[in-house]
Amino acid sequence: MTRADVAAAILWTGATLYAIFGGADFGAGFWDLVAGDARKGARPRALIQRSLTPVWEANHVWLIFILVVLWTAFPDAFGAVMSTLYVPLTLAAFGIVLRGAGFAFRKSFRSLQAQRALGATFALSSVLTPFFMGTVVGAIAAGNVPPGGGDAFSSWLAPLPLLVGAMFVASGAYLAAVFLVGDAARGGDADLEGYFVRRALAAAVVAGAFAVAGVFALHSEARYVFDRLLNQGLPLVVLSGICGIGVLASLLRGWRRPLRPLAAGAVAAVIWGWGVAQFPYLLPTSLKISQSAAPPDTLASVIVVFLVAAVVILPALGLLYWLSQRELVGE
């Protein structure tokens, strides 16, 4: 394994963590959006608010991590992505601002109108942001982002990118519902637990359906990725399926402990499956990891930074999650 491959693995690790934790935060916004009017939605929204408040900013930092690793370790790929997909990326950036501001400001207002407006801002941008991020990933997988830049519109306004966008929204909603089942169970709220169990089941089915449709779209738009996904990537696809079935079984049988690891595993396996499927390309099939890689000392610093992060940040992040799961932090 070369340094460039290690750096690519680090990039994928960041993407996995962002997809799980950041994805669940976006998904929570989705459930906030569809929670109904102020009366009906009050309890689920309160749970969402409590769960997200202490952790969303830390979870968001994985996105910064991805951007920084990409531009430092693979500057050519970063330039190509940014100069091709500037439309969905700009929209995603707007969405990030609106989501964060809507969420942070909402709880400070008491009037129904202000809460509704800010809540809607938060919730709607929580759906649009991952959608546009998904189109970016889909456009890359489809091979529509050549080095030097591709078409600003046809690159992502195609079936595969749009489908991946939808899949991002659905998998975020799925993760969020599963996580919220756990939070509701811990709070001893059986009603709310059932509420999110039903939503987790529905989201699992929808996300699974998008994934299957995605495989068909891969077949027609990203043949290289498709072929490798069903060969080298097959074990991961199977693993994702097993985790998904495990989640469904746990939801239906009332098992709570394995829920989160299984749901996270299902998403992580897909992301690594995608990574394996497009290996050794960073931008299939025009830019290889090795071609785009930064000089060796830069790659070494990225690796060192990652190791330091693993030693320092993961325990700190663990502490934050531990405190927030035990409700030692909260408002």
Binding site: A38, R39, G41, A42, A46, Q49, P54, V55, E57, H60, V61, L63, I64, F65, L67, V68, W71, T72, P75, F78, G79, A80, V81, M82, S83, Y86, L89, T90, A92, A93, V97, L98, R99, A101, F103, A104, F105, R106, K107, S108, F109, R110, A294, P295, D297, T298, A300, S301, V302, V305, A309, I313, A316, L319, L320, S324, L328, V329, G330, E331
Partner: protein, 450 residues
């Protein structure tokens, strides 16, 4: 050309917005922890209330800072893809380091802000200390990336101009970091300190002369006033280094047209190729400030090829003067307070003192912006001094002016939303007491939710 201008204006606008929040994020933790420490150590309930209130305010500013900072990371690529392609592998190293600091800051900030109720007093205090360290570390990494753009080193280019080798430590510890980084960290402490103090000065001017307001004024003001004289010293060192390493920027700042000794220091005025109009000139002082002797030779703009001269000479010059002027005025404010405090352990009685503190926050922000105008406009036409022009770095993407207009609207809403939230919190604390306001985490509106 129009793309270049649009991209530069958009970058400048979003940076100017974010940097105020970045300053608060870097320096407010230390101010909060000072109050928290006093509260714990002396059982001072007012200090404790201040620490708690400020941490709630920081939750708001940090959220806005986090999202506006994300916008900037997108903009690096969206606006300057050619720059990132060519130099991301060198320039990015500092940001990789920054990632660690920012991550840790976000984590401990969450633990501190949301740990008031259930963590023990000192455990809670110590959970906040990493914020101070990571704030300084984060400021170091981001600003050293900028100082690398001003004095790049630590890379080897091939014939095509592509970076083929890097020396990460040389990138991080480039020649400009030693003055840019402390200059910015001190600026952050000044901005945050004067800003918080100015809020309490306004309160006191409105007749709220209780102990809480006094402490709320004195804690941040003292911290900012300690930073101010050090800042003037660091700034002075910075200017001399710029004169040595970036003569074009220095000539622009000081409006020097012709190389020579015995250069006049101009204060104010308009820069023209025939010299400075309408300025107060102090003969020989500029040379003296650069090299401690009026015989010091200072490079003038005529010696710089017209293609390499910074644009907007007058803007540069006036920004520099305004920054130094505001810094000096803030120093005078500190001297005033120090003398009166030494004589009778109290703040000056005249309302003019409170009025001065009340405007000091905005003044510090203006000085911050003027300083960055000098750094950034003064580096033009280069994005990486001597290696890449800003015009070569810019994107071909269409519609930047349109995005810029949308960003102005979005940030106007964001800024006014943040100020409205902070004012709402402050009013509630005043009218309903800290506990009521704090206990309330309304999501569902009262009339229907409960």
């Amino acid at each position: 050309m129009t793309n270049l201008l649009a991209a530069r204006e958009l970058m400048a606008f979003t940076l100017a917005f974010h940097i105020v929040l970045a300053c608060i994020g870097v320096a407010l933790p230390a101010i909060i922890l000072t109050a928290n420490y006093l509260g714990l150590k002396r059982g001072d309930r007012d200090a404790m209330r201040l620490a708690k209130r400020w941490s709630k305010a920081m939750a708001v500013t940090f959220a806005v800072g986090a999202v506006t900072g994300t916008v900037l990371s997108f903009e690096f690529g969206l606006l300057w893809p050619r720059f990132m392609e060519r130099f991301g592998d060198a320039f990015g190293i500092a940001f990789a380091v920054e990632g660690i600091f920012f991550f840790l800051e976000a984590i401990f900030l969450a633990i501190y802000i949301y740990g008031w109720k259930r963590l023990g007093g000192w455990a809670h205090f110590w959970s906040g200390v990493p914020m101070v360290i990571t704030g300084i570390g984060g400021a170091f990494s981001v600003v050293t990336a900028n100082s690398w753009m001003n004095q790049p080193q630590g890379f080897v280019l091939d014939a095509a101009g592509k970076v083929v080798e890097t020396e990460p430590l040389k990138v991080l510890f480039n020649p400009a970091w030693g003055y840019e980084v402390p200059h910015m960290i001190l600026a952050a402490y000044m901005v945050a300190g004067f800003l918080v103090a100015s809020v309490y000065a306004v309160g006191m001017l409105r007749g709220r002369r209780d102990r809480l307001h006094r402490l709320g004024l004195l804690i941040p003001l003292t911290i900012a006033l300690i930073a101010t004289p050090i800042q003037l010293f660091v700034g002075d060192t910075a200017a001399r280094s710029v004169a040595d390493h970036q003569p074009a920027k220095f000539a622009g700042m000081e409006c020097i047209q012709e190389t020579g000794t015995d250069q006049t220091e101009y204060i104010g005025g308009i820069c023209t190729s025939d010299g400075v109009k309408g300025a107060i000139g102090i003969p020989g002082l500029d040379s003296f400030l650069v090299g401690w002797s009026t015989d010091t030779e200072v490079t003038g703009l005529e010696q710089i090829s017209p293609d390499d001269r910074p644009p907007a000479n007058t803007l540069l010059h006036l920004s520099f003067d305004a920054m130094v002027g505001i810094g000096t005025a803030l120093l005078a404010l500190g001297v005033w307070l120090a003398i009166v405090w030494w004589r009778r352990r109290d703040i000056p009685r005249t309302p003019w003192f409170l009025r001065a503190v009340a405007v000091s926050g905005v003044a510090a922000i203006l000085a911050l912006w003027f300083g960055w105008i000098v750094t950034e406009v003064g580096r033009q036409p280069w994005i990486v001094q001597g290696y890449m022009r800003t015009s070569e770095a810019v994107t071909d993407a269409q519609g930047i002016w349109f995005v810029f207009a949308a960003v102005i609207l979005l940030y106007a809403a964001l800024g006014s939303g943040a100020i409205l939230v902070l004012r709402t919190l402050s009013r509630r604390w005043r009218e309903e007491g800290d506990e009521v306001a704090e206990a309330e985490v309304p999501y569902a509106p009262r009339e229907v939710g409960t």
